[in-house]
């Protein structure tokens, strides 16, 4: 008994733990989708997890469930040792930083860069009648925006809506990590960008995560990103985890391996040719 307990002792408690999580949207209608079918997942502190999967596999739903965008049907979500299953979205924000796929989602377009960051500087904290634009915030913001090398440091008073998608995603990333989050959620945050901006934002992502040692969950459609980034790959399919590659396995993975895994799924599911074409065009 004692030896068993010692053998199974986990060196570190996971930062994130999903326990048998279910979610069905539009239950009982023709549009019923079941993006989470008893998902179990543990994520260790400091790991950078890439989430892959086709359309409707439940990968974005997984991120949204963690963020609290909707209540889950059953199961349990633990974050940082606390059961957050019933916490509303805004309450979980004290632990989570997020960047969305749509560059318009992460910033308030009609407000200035400074306004947006003054909100980020209070993520998950009480907002009272303190002055939003403190001297300290302005100075620090100018320094950190200069690091982006996008020439935005002199435009802190311009509306964020006037910036390009790449600039907005870079700023959103900076906002999400302004106060160090316990968990960073990136939901295909480069999918809507042109290749050059996407590369810039990915480089920035890698740099920030490495520097701050952030626990990260990143959904992507790009096999190349999946291979190059992170230390673990979770492959999702029809509402569950299909494959889970750890750091060692991931190092040996190539784009072709990932594609063949998807190909296997395709055969098993006997998807018709057109759907396979769609997958290919998306992933290659």
């Amino acid at each position: 008994m004692t030896t068993h307990a010692q053998a199974s002792a986990v060196p570190q408690r996971p930062l994130v733990r999903l326990n048998n999580v279910y979610k069905t949207f539009h239950a009982g209608t023709v549009n019923e989708v079941r993006p989470m079918r008893g998902i179990n997942l543990e994520i260790a502190e400091g790991s950078f997890v890439i989430v892959l999967g086709g359309n409707g596999s439940g990968k974005s739903t997984l991120l949204n469930a963690l963020a609290g965008s909707f209540p889950i049907d059953s199961g349990r979500i633990e974050l940082d040792g606390q059961d957050v299953s019933r916490w509303p979205e805004y309450r979980r924000a004290c632990l989570i930083g997020r960047v969305f796929q749509n560059p318009f989602s992460g910033t308030a377009p009609n407000m200035s860069i400074l306004d947006n960051f003054s909100l980020a500087a209070k993520r998950g904290k009480f907002r009272g009648l303190g002055w939003a634009h403190s001297r300290h915030l302005q100075d620090e913001l100018r320094d950190r925006v200069r690091e982006l090398k996008m020439g935005l440091e002199d435009r802190l008073d311009s509306a964020i809506g006037s910036l390009s998608g790449g600039q907005r995603q870079a700023l959103t990333l900076l906002m999400a990590t302004w106060l160090k989050p316990r968990l960073l959620l990136l939901d295909e945050h480069t999918a809507a960008l042109d290749p050059k901006s996407a590369d810039q934002v990915i480089a920035l992502t890698d740099r920030i995560i490495a520097r701050e040692g952030l626990t990260t969950l990143m959904v992507t459609h790009s096999m190349q990103q999946a291979i190059n980034l992170g230390d673990r790959i979770v492959m999702m399919h029809s509402g569950n985890v299909l494959h889970d590659f750890n750091s060692e396995q991931k190092q040996r993975l190539r784009v072709d391996d990932l594609l063949s895994r998807f190909e296997n799924v395709r055969r098993r599911e006997l998807l018709d040719e057109s759907a396979a074409e769609m997958l290919k065009s998306r992933y290659i």
Partner: protein
């Protein structure tokens, strides 16, 4: 000159209405019809406290503000907790308030005769300040009571506008502005968007209730009909203000709403003095707002067509 001062004073008082509409319409992007009810509610509560209970005008006026806030809170709760469409919530609360206002007042009209109001305070103050019931202003003889009222209202509205401007630069105020601009982002940053909206609508309707309280005291009666169509009036003021200032920041937009309200009231006063039938006032206001909403888009379309034609 008396006419001018009268129109100015009313314009300044209704600037509070414009500020309230600015908050709901521009910051939260809602056409909040609660305004029609909360303006009367503020006037009714203040009126009853003054006439029936002899409360000090300062407290009675504050009560008008609080009454407006309550109306706004109900509207906000309907929208956020019960997920009722913003327009419909406004209609429901406005309709309910019509009965409430009749109950509060006990009848459809309360004249403020022989009771102390802000107006009577102005009269006594005017004699002390200007040394008589009449005074000279740039060669014109004006009633010093009217002048005092105008100055008092200007000071009050100026102070409130400054306070509002400062509020929207605080952490809470910034988060409220952002929750109108991008609620998803505010949630992701830990802001309780629903509570912000409730508070925003409370603040908005509080200002409208205050406008009602002051207006009733200025015209010396509260009437159950006085709020009808006032949301459109507020919209017209906000739109004129934006057109004049090209409003980019909150501070300019707030100043614009005040200027818009004063100017709009002047225009109305001039039109009325040229023989405009007062019955047509609301029709003209509505047409004006319609034009202000539609024309910018149409002008863009026309200039685009022209540019295409040239190319």
């Amino acid at each position: 000159m008396t006419l001018l001062i009268g129109a100015l004073t009313l314009g300044v008082i209704l600037a509070l209405l414009a500020l309230g509409v600015y908050i709901s319409y521009r910051i939260f992007d809602i056409a909040d019809i609660t305004v029609d009810g909360s303006l009367t509610f503020g006037a009714a509560v203040t009126g009853v406290l003054l006439v029936k209970y002899g409360v000090h005008p300062l407290w009675a006026t504050s009560a008008g503000f609080i009454a407006g806030m309550m109306a706004g809170t109900v509207s906000g709760v309907l929208q956020t907790r019960f997920h009722i469409n913003a327009l419909l919530s406004g209609i429901l609360v406005m309709t309910a308030l019509y009965s409430v206002n009749l109950h509060v007042m006990g009848r459809s009209n309360i004249p403020f005769l022989g009771v102390a109001t802000l107006s009577t305070y102005c009269e006594t103050m005017a004699v002390q300040v200007f040394g008589g019931p009449e005074t000279q202003l740039w060669g014109w003889t004006v009633s010093s009571a009217d002048l005092t009222m105008l100055l008092l209202m200007l000071t009050l509205v100026g102070a409130i506008a400054t306070g509002l401007w400062a509020f929207f630069r605080t952490d809470l105020g910034t988060a409220m502005r952002a929750s109108g601009d991008n609620p998803q982002m505010v949630k992701a940053l830990g802001g309780n968007v629903e509570n912000y909206r409730i508070f925003g609508l409370a603040l908005s309707n509080g200002l409208v209730g205050l406008a009602g309280a002051l207006w009733a005291q200025y015209q010396n009666f509260a009437d159950v009909q006085m709020g009808i169509g006032m949301v459109v009036w507020g919209l017209a003021s906000v739109i004129i203000g934006e057109a004049l200032t090209g409003a980019t920041g909150v501070g300019i937009a707030i100043a614009g709403a005040i200027i818009g309200s004063v100017l709009f009231r002047q225009l109305v006063a001039i039109a009325l003095s040229f023989g405009l039938n007062p019955n047509d006032l609301k029709l003209i206001t509505a047409v004006f707002v319609f034009a202000a909403l539609v024309l910018p888009g149409m002008m863009k379309h026309v200039s685009l067509r022209k540019a295409q034609g040239a190319a």
